[in-house]
Amino acid sequence: MASKSTATHLIRADKVFQNLDGAEDWGIKGYEKRGGYGKELKKILKTDPKDIIELVKASGQRGRGGAGFPTGLKWSFMPRPDGVRPNYLVCNADEGEPGTCKDRDILRFDPHTLVEGMIVGCHALGAETGYIYVRGEYYDETSRLQQAIDEAYEAGLLGKNIMGTGVNVDVYTHLGAGAYICGEETALLESLEGKKGQPRLKPPFPAQFGLYGCPTTINNVETIAQIPSILKRGVDWWTQFGRPNNHGTKIFCISGAVNKPCNIEAPMSISLKDLIEEHCDGVMGGWDNLQAIIPGGSSTPMLNPEQSGEVLMDFDALRELGTGLGTAGVIVMNKEVDVLDVMTRISGFYKHESCGQCTPCREGVGWVYRLMERLRDGNGTVEELDQLFDVTKRIEGRTICAFADGAMWPVQGTLKHFRGEFEKRIEAQSKKQGAA
């Protein structure tokens, strides 16, 4: 076994989630053996919150939930508790982006990383209460997480005066009930308040007016769970991985047409080709059999094989190609896959998940789906391809939240890379009809 991490592989000691494969004990004992909690946590809890936030800022960690917003900066927006309104830390475990399943494995195989992250996060943000909002389908996973929380309470790691440091933190799980949109942070807050998950108008932003109208920070599971490791191992350890502005380790979820789909924690800025070849035993049928790759969950526009062969998996590199790292849910499509069918299915997903609040999204996403459905089967005209693009442009950027943008980008990506395929089918269909 290598003794030092490389650009493609992390040694065990450099992993944050050492039990991501579930091979070891997920419980508190196992976690402590892997370096969790302990004196170092006590030290962190004795550190001034301001200094913690500075360290997180210095690490440059960017949110792992999709948008890649710098965590330290987000935390610095939070006012200190004023004694009137409490501060809240809310963990977004509403993992729903198709192609993404990293948080699930954290919840079920390494839940204490998250619990420890919540303790540290609450301390840093001046919050005494944290909620973990888990998607409703992760029922068993939430049970596992709840058991971990119970263990932490028993060990005196949650509750009043944690480890004698005077820090008080209560953490609760809250189960969603099936709505992708609740992954949007303000929709999540609405849902947590017992309402429909409809995103709020901003401003005000959650740091000023969040849960129950109190200052609130919302972070992804992976983001929060990485914080204790960053603080314990140091900023230098963290920044050795990945390119500047994209530092750290990251869980990649590689699904679809690869020989060994998996969740793997790897250094940021690993090349996409290495990720697939080294960790997933390659594309089914070989690299040459590759047709397209969605790099960061269903909302991110796809890459063609050429781009896929060159791109590095980090925020900036993917952005340069007009797509994004998103949740790092890599969906691989080889030549046996009907890409138009898959993209139509994704379009249908967005139609199903639109909250219905804003006009363009409510009315437009269904329109786009129906057009996709028709054009996939060649029932339409070439002009309608332009029209489809126009419609996506009229939806994008015109709504309260970014859901509609995420719903339109994959369609735009499909039109960019597979317009020819659409045209071929349209031609074939009109020939068929002509013959009939």
Binding site: A179, I181, K196, L201, P203, K351, H352, E353, S354, C355, G356, Q357, C358, T359, P360, R362, E363, G364, V365, G366, W367, R370, L371, R374, Q387, D390, V391, R394, I395, G397, R398, T399, I400
Partner: protein
């Protein structure tokens, strides 16, 4: 809010607005119109229609002007290609699933969607998939629904939740399957539901009684004042060829904001039913139509040789100031009797007690300055729904509302403090649990139900106790007079202001009822229908009924004279806060019915003692000379009135207050003649689910 002004430019024009204003507000100041559907000034901001998108220099994408706060130096463009494109896009999305059935839609001609489509709509759509169709809702006799037309702006939901306080509207499902509707299909429970018709920017919610009866461009619009309660709601009566086709609210921030109650909105069918249209004389138990001159002969004959002391006159509940003035002068100067009363329910105070003792001193809008409420023997939700909405605003902000009397669901959290006058003693003690709620409150509004509290036998003692409570709570200050009387009847404040009460030793209503029973009245003039609290009006040798409807009490009379209803005459009305407002005639009285004052003027000739006015203008001039507080300069404003109540020694009883309203939908003769109101009353009784309001603690 701070007074700091923020400077910004919109389309190159500079404007300064207070900090916290939205771009929409700033644009309004510059008269720049920004199209919108979901935004409404009196509702919370939803920002969901996306029609009001504007560009801000430097912003990555367009923002909704209805929600975006202004900031110093901001450069906004509303008319650039980009925003036009955005609006066109939204417009197309709104129309793809809209049925475009304008020819059969009642909203056509006054539809926001139609209007905005003129500017931003395309003459063709790119959409060629199937359109969505949505099932209609059956939600009672007030509102007709065509839900396929709904554009999901959620105004109706926000109104029901925020203003009416009856949370029965909601949006279920999600995405393109989102549906605006109710919990279960049943008649809406709110007495303000009709306002959703006005709020709906499209034809999804339209007036059921008005359905397919008229087009907006055929209607003549007349400003008027509602008389179904004593709020003085500003209304617009829309008529066509002398028929009232519908009634809608006019905006008046100090009175009704822009709302109206459902009784005011939907009762107009009562104006066309069961009307008295010609004088009628009862001969040997049978009613016979006669002419006006003939009726006058009958009256003259009945008065021959009758001692004026044995003549009495009662004025009912719905009369304009002019009518009451003419009636009062006719009875007192022409007939010569002092047995005159405009308080048929036995209301105990009169002009001598000071109008401040009988009116809402804080004013209706002034209730929004109160930080606590003590409701004594009143249910404002049913006595004056638009007073209730004001109280509700404060209650939602945390003002305690204490109810003394019958408990009721007022649509906000209230505390049932007790049932009788003794409760006030507890409230005045800051150490008691109830007293604590009022501790430290500076502007307590005490609202006394006129009908329940001030018609009791011990009414004068009641008012003494209540005024002393106000004194104790320090709410009878110069800068805050929190003593309020809430009337139910549109004409009552006017009758008190004009002194339509006995002046010397004449009999008041209670005495008249007694005298009637004892056979001591020879001629009774009953001017309009009033609430007699189940006292009989029979017993006179001859009685004249003057009014609009053939009511049961009218039929007890010997002669019926047809008068004009409130929509059929110009008139001044004084509301429960003493505000004088002018209504204009929207239609002509039916057949032979006449305006009230003209009848008294004509009768005065019969009695050879001509009243000194030949026109309404002359009448008003006389009236204003007699009563300067009614002068034109004060019209529309809320005046201050003194309380001149003399503390008497009458003993107060602690019997519980009774419920102030039997049936909200059937509380006067117009409402009782209205089939729509009858349906509403029936539906309200039959409702299976109450919407489960906030718990009454």
């Amino acid at each position: 809010m701070s007074d700091n002004l923020i400077n910004l430019t919109i389309d190159g024009h500079e404007v300064s607005v207070p900090q916290g204003s939205t771009i929409m507000k700033a644009a309004e100041k510059l008269s720049i119109e920004i199209p919108h559907f979901c935004y409404h000034e009196r509702l919370s901001v939803a920002g969901n229609c996306r029609m009001c998108l504007v560009n801000i220099e430097g912003a990555p994408k367009p923002v909704t002007s209805c929600s975006w706060p202004v900031s110093e130096g901001m450069k906004v463009t509303t008319a650039c290609e980009e925003t036009k494109e955005a609006r066109k896009g939204v417009m197309e999305f709104l129309l793809i699933n809209h049925p475009l059935d304008c020819p059969i839609c009642d909203q056509a001609g006054e539809c926001d969607l139609q209007d905005v489509a003129v500017s931003y709509g395309s003459d063709r759509s790119h959409y060629c998939e199937s359109k969505r169709s949505v099932d209609d809702l059956e939600i009672g006799s007030k509102i007709k629904t065509v839900m396929t037309r709904c554009i999901h702006c959620t105004r109706c939901i926000r109104f029901a939740t925020e203003v009416a306080g009856v949370e029965e509207m909601g949006a279920t499902g999600r995405g393109e399957n989102m549906r605006v509707g109710t919990y279960v299909e049943q008649a809406l429970q709110s007495e303000l539901a009709g306002n959703m018709i006005d709020l709906c920017p499209v034809g999804a919610l339209t007036s059921k009684p008005y359905a397919f009866t008229a087009r907006p461009w055929e209607l003549v619009r007349t400003p008027s004042i509602d008389v179904m309660d004593a709020v003085g709601t500003n209304i617009r009566v829309d008529s066509r060829a002398d028929e009232v086709m519908r009634i809608v609210p006019r905006e008046n921030a100090e009175v009704n904001e822009e709302w109206m109650s459902d009784t005011a909105r939907f009762s107009y069918d009562g104006l066309a039913r069961n009307r008295l249209t010609t004088p009628m004389h009862k001969v040997s138990g049978k009613w016979k139509s006669i002419t006006w001159p003939k009726a006058f002969e009958v009256i003259a004959k009945a008065h021959k040789g009758v001692d004026a002391d044995r003549i009495a006159g009662l004025a009912g509940d719905i009369h304009s100031l002019e009518d009451l003035y003419a009636f009062n002068d006719f009875m007192k100067d022409v007939i010569g009797t002092d047995n005159v009363d405009g308080r048929m329910d036995g209301y105990a105070l009169n002009r001598e007690d000071g109008l401040g003792a009988s009116l809402m001193n804080t004013g209706i809008a002034g209730l929004e300055d109160a930080d606590a409420f003590v409701l004594i023997g009143t249910n404002p939700r049913h006595e004056a729904p638009l007073v209730n909405t004001r109280i509700r605003k404060q209650a939602l902000k945390g003002a305690p509302v204490l109810m003394v009397g019958e408990d009721a669901d007022l649509t906000y959290t209230s505390t049932h403090a007790g049932t009788d006058i003794k409760t006030l003693e507890t409230l005045a003690k800051p150490t008691t649990k109830l007293g604590k709620l009022l501790k430290g409150k500076e502007n307590i509004a005490v609202i006394v139900g006129a009908k329940t509290v001030l018609t009791r036998a011990d009414a004068r003692a009641q008012i003494r106790e209540i005024l002393s409570f106000c004194e104790k709570m320090n709410v009878a200050r110069k800068d805050w007079n929190g003593f309020n009387v809430l009337h139910q009847q549109a004409g009552r404040a006017g009758a008190l202001a004009l002194g339509v009460t006995p002046e010397d030793s004449g009999m008041d209503a209670t005495a008249i009822y007694k005298a009637l029973k004892g056979g001591k009245i020879d001629v009774l003039w009953q001017f309009g229908e009033g609430d007699t609290s189940n006292k009989s009006l029979s017993g006179a040798k001859f009685s004249v009924y003057m009014g609009t409807h053939k009511t049961d009490t009218a039929k007890e009379a010997n002669l019926m004279l047809p008068l004009a209803a409130y929509t059929e005459k110009d008139g001044l009305w004084m509301n429960t806060e003493g505000r004088v407002q002018e209504a204009k005639a929207a239609a002509k009285p039916p057949l032979n019915a006449k305006e009230d004052w003209k009848v008294f003027r004509a009768l005065s000739d019969v009695f050879k003692s001509t009243l000194p006015f030949n026109t309404l203008k002359a009448l008003r001039e006389n009236m204003m000379e007699d009563w300067p507080i009614l002068s034109e300069e004060y019209w529309g404003t809320k005046q201050e009135f003194d309380i001149a109540f003399k503390v008497g020694k009458a003993t107060v009883t602690d019997t519980a207050y009774t419920a102030p309203v039997d049936s909200f939908y059937l509380s006067n003769e117009i409402l009782r003649a209205s089939p729509v109101m009858a349906e509403c009353a029936a539906e309200n009784g039959a409702a299976k689910f109450k919407p489960n309001m906030k718990k009454v603690s």
